[in-house]
């Protein structure tokens, strides 16, 4: 899937650029973006190292277990097959909490650790050395993540203030409603797909 998406973006971009005479911009865009990716990674290095460091303390001190217990009903509902004592459940709980609090840079590290842990779980379940296909848990986790869980859209409120909004925070309530609707629909989809697929 990702292969086609990736190739599709590049091939369509180059062809469309050539047809409309934007081809020089396409070349610049490609190189500029590659450079941008590296500077993004440099920014990420600090933030991710920082949050994973804190997460390690939280884990060893038993905090992640505490968060996990708080979210247990939700986790059990979303991931009925997952062992709640395992590390995957803890990272998923951390990711969900960080998302809700709007801690952008903390979500990604917890999410990545969760995916790594889910990979181990699925490999063990299937008894294979190398995994190519996503597990149901991974699909559900990604769908819930992409549906956006953030409660207070802090960045948007800041931009609105900068551009002279009379009531920058007036979007909080509708944003919470829209986010909730998206998330509920995403969960319903994941649940339906979960039932439709045998494995």
């Amino acid at each position: 899937m990702l292969n086609y998406l990736w190739a599709g973006m590049i091939l369509i971009g180059v062809c469309y650029g050539a047809v409309t005479g934007n081809i020089a911009a396409v070349g610049n865009g490609a190189l500029e973006s590659a450079r941008e990716a590296v500077s993004l990674c440099i920014t990420m290095l600090g933030a991710v190292a920082f949050w994973v460091g804190l997460m390690e303390i939280a884990e060893k001190a038993g905090l992640i277990d505490k968060w996990k217990r708080g979210l247990m009903p939700l986790l059990r509902f979303l991931f009925p097959r997952l062992d709640m004592e395992g590390e995957a459940a803890g990272y998923i709980a951390t990711n969900i909490i960080a998302n809700i609090l709007g801690l952008g840079w903390a979500c990604t590290p917890a999410g990545l650790k969760a995916m790594e842990a889910l990979e181990k779980v699925e490999k063990k379940r299937l008894g294979v050395e190398k995994l190519t296909r996503a597990s149901k848990e991974m699909c559900t986790f990604l769908i819930v993540n992409i549906s956006s869980l953030q409660l207070i859209p802090v960045n948007m409120i800041v931009y609105r203030t900068q551009y002279g909004s009379v009531e920058p925070t007036s979007i909080i309530a509708p944003a919470i409603v829209a986010t909730t609707i998206g998330t509920v629909v995403g969960i319903a989809f994941a649940k339906a797909a979960d039932m439709a697929y045998k494995d």
Partner: protein, 173 residues
């Protein structure tokens, strides 16, 4: 706004204080664990560099070719029919591949129409209730070293469209 601004300023220091304090009280060697975790995190990011270069390059090509504007123009009629103004369509399309590029478009809308206009409200709500689908999928699935993503994309698009539809309705109220 004041309270909220204060809250968002306080939240990160408060979390740091809480985690480190809790660890110390629980008798955990906090500094050693922090270093161990930080090292672990660095490894994860280094593993991400090739993916991000590949992904952002593809996004860069698509954006600079002007194809997304063309697509937005193409979908204009359909968009207006379901209540999405034509200025908003490029934001929806761009947001799927790049958050920062979408933010740029939103700021343009704020400048031209004002953040409190109908369009301004609509994009504000929409940006707050959707995520960058392709970016999140690529990065997360790379961490799990998985190539067959099954129904994730369908589910993610479904959830995103539900969020957009809700934004359109709510902004019209």
């Amino acid at each position: 706004m004041q309270v909220l601004g204060e809250l968002s300023n306080i939240i990160i220091p408060a979390i740091i204080f809480y985690i480190v304090g809790y660890g110390l009280v629980s008798g955990v060697p906090v500094y050693e664990h922090f270093i161990k975790g930080a090292k672990d995190g660095l490894g994860t990011v280094v593993g991400l560099v090739p993916t991000l270069v590949g992904l952002l390059m593809a996004v860069g090509i698509l954006r600079s070719s002007g194809f997304l504007e063309f697509l937005a123009e193409l979908l204009k009629g359909a968009g207006e029919w379901i209540g999405i103004p034509q200025e908003v369509l490029p934001v929806i399309l761009v947001k799927m591949v790049s958050n920062s590029a979408a933010t740029g478009l939103v700021l343009d809308i704020f400048k031209n129409f004002g953040p409190d206009s109908h369009i301004g409200m609509l994009v504000s709500i929409m940006m707050s209730s959707t995520e960058t689908i392709f970016y999140t999928m690529s990065v997360y699935f790379l961490a799990a070293k998985v190539t067959k993503t099954r129904y994730t994309l369908a589910g993610a698009l479904f959830a995103t469209f539900a969020g957009i539809a809700a934004s359109v309705v709510l902004a019209g109220m």
